[in-house]
Symmetry: C2
Subunit: 246 residues, 2 copies
DNA sequence: CGCAATGTTGAGCGATTTCAACTGCCGTGG
DNA sequence: CCACGGCAGTTGAAATCGCTCAACATTGCG
């Protein structure tokens, strides 16, 4: 299932720098964290609800998502994660997982033992702050999704997700020109937006017809960014991105 | 609007101890934080979206809630807060507020300057951990609400909120015997569950008729706790409460 | 007493779900 | 080489949960 492989943590620091200032010493410490890199296939659980992980994982390549299974057999996807993010950083301080983490695409993931992260936070308060900050922004994204699911109609809900993912990918250099890789299937999109796959399908057709967005061969193209933002009522404040560096 | 007044931070430490272990030194440091206590009327904004607060507030008495205003004039309530909680602790590391905080009832609130909290976290890593942990549990509650809004029907959604608030109040000694003070009006409940006030009203009538829950004179009584848990599909794991101490 | 805030009820409407069928694509194996 | 199966996507028709609009009841308070 999982093969050991090579990799480095540059994606991690690049990502942290998008919302926090770090000096070169701190960047070096972070990038030299002891870790074990694994390559994982798509649709593969990394951690399951109820477990007590001893490591956190930094995503180096691919997409991950977090989800919960609902009694009726359904699935709520709570977030998507792109390279440089640590989706289960919270397990460092909250022992029991209350949701699962899985790969959306084939992924390269760096596992870092909690003891090393603990050491880091004790000896480098500014890094601790940066990591804490990262989990706080995570929480802000949950709040935004909550508003989206509760208050936006299907169209705006999907449009908003497109806006969010494009900004997040763009800021770490993984998207430009209003195009991005889009490995999210309609079923996943449905599970993330609390809709049915059928309705996701119809809504995407709508977007196509209105000339806002098309998805083809795993690539999403935004044809009318202002209109998409308008439809989504997208305000990126909640992502708390630093301007300046690119 | 706000009158200075007396108070102490015992509620804060009592609350932190429900999910974290602290020694007596740490408790003392926390309870002796410099602060300014204010008494505020109900339905009064403490911080607004877009502001950059220099203090965080610990709630000593009353209920607070966090919310966002939606373009159509609506309001999404994202969380309720009870004594001992610090609803805007995240502003310590995320400068700009992406939502507002307001009083639901008349409240007594302790304002603590960020510089003092910063000092605290640098000199007391275990306290920093406890506070970080608290914000992580907060995020877990957002995830749970997201699932509720997206996946539960009106009945279960409201039932779940009742279960959650009862457990949170009970663990800090503010509720027992399946009864709790309930200052949440039907409109607030609607804004928190992404429903209309009309439908909240009908759903509460349903609960009454089925003999699950009644609300009278600001007191909510749970008549059939097992049935409520069942209807809500309530699993308190996400609250990450320590057992043991009461 | 009158007004404002909160709660209550009815009737019709609408966004989304459910159920079901069908298409196109791609890898596998005979 | 083609048959087959499975997966993802697409479309239609009927059902439903919750919304909207509107009226009315109740309570508390100046």
């Amino acid at each position: 299932m999982a093969e050991p492989s090579q990799g480095n943590l540059k994606a991690l620091t690049r990502r942290l720098l998008t919302n926090t200032e770090l000096n070169s010493d701190e960047i070096e410490v972070l990038e030299n964290l002891p870790m074990q890199v694994k390559t994982l296939p798509r649709q593969h659980d990394i951690i399951r609800e109820g477990e007590r992980p001893s490591h956190s994982c930094a995503l180096l390549e691919g997409w991950l998502f977090r989800y919960r299974v609902i009694p009726d057999g359904g699935r709520q996807i709570m977030s998507f994660h792109i390279p440089g993010e640590i989706p289960d950083l919270h397990s460092l301080h909250v022992a029991v997982m209350d949701h699962s983490v899985a790969t959306l695409t084939p992924c390269k993931v760096a596992f870092i033992a909690h003891e090393h992260l603990d050491n880091l936070t004790v000896h480098h308060p500014r890094i601790a702050m940066a990591l804490w900050r990262d989990t706080l922004i995570d929480a802000g994204i949950f709040r935004e999704w909550m508003v989206g699911i509760g208050r936006r109609l299907a169209f705006g809900r999907i449009a908003h997700l497109f806006c969010e993912m494009y900004r997040r990918l763009e800021i770490v250099g993984l998207a430009e020109g209003k195009r991005m890789n889009w490995p999210v299937m309609q079923i996943d999109l449905a599970d993330a937006t609390s809709m049915t796959a059928v309705h996701v399908n119809r809504t995407l057709r709508d977007m196509r017809r209105r000339g806002l967005v098309t998805i083809q061969d795993g690539v999403l193209t935004i044809h009318d960014w202002p209109a998409l933002i308008e439809a989504a009522d997208f305000d990126p404040t909640y992502l708390h991105l630093r301007e300046a560096q690119t």
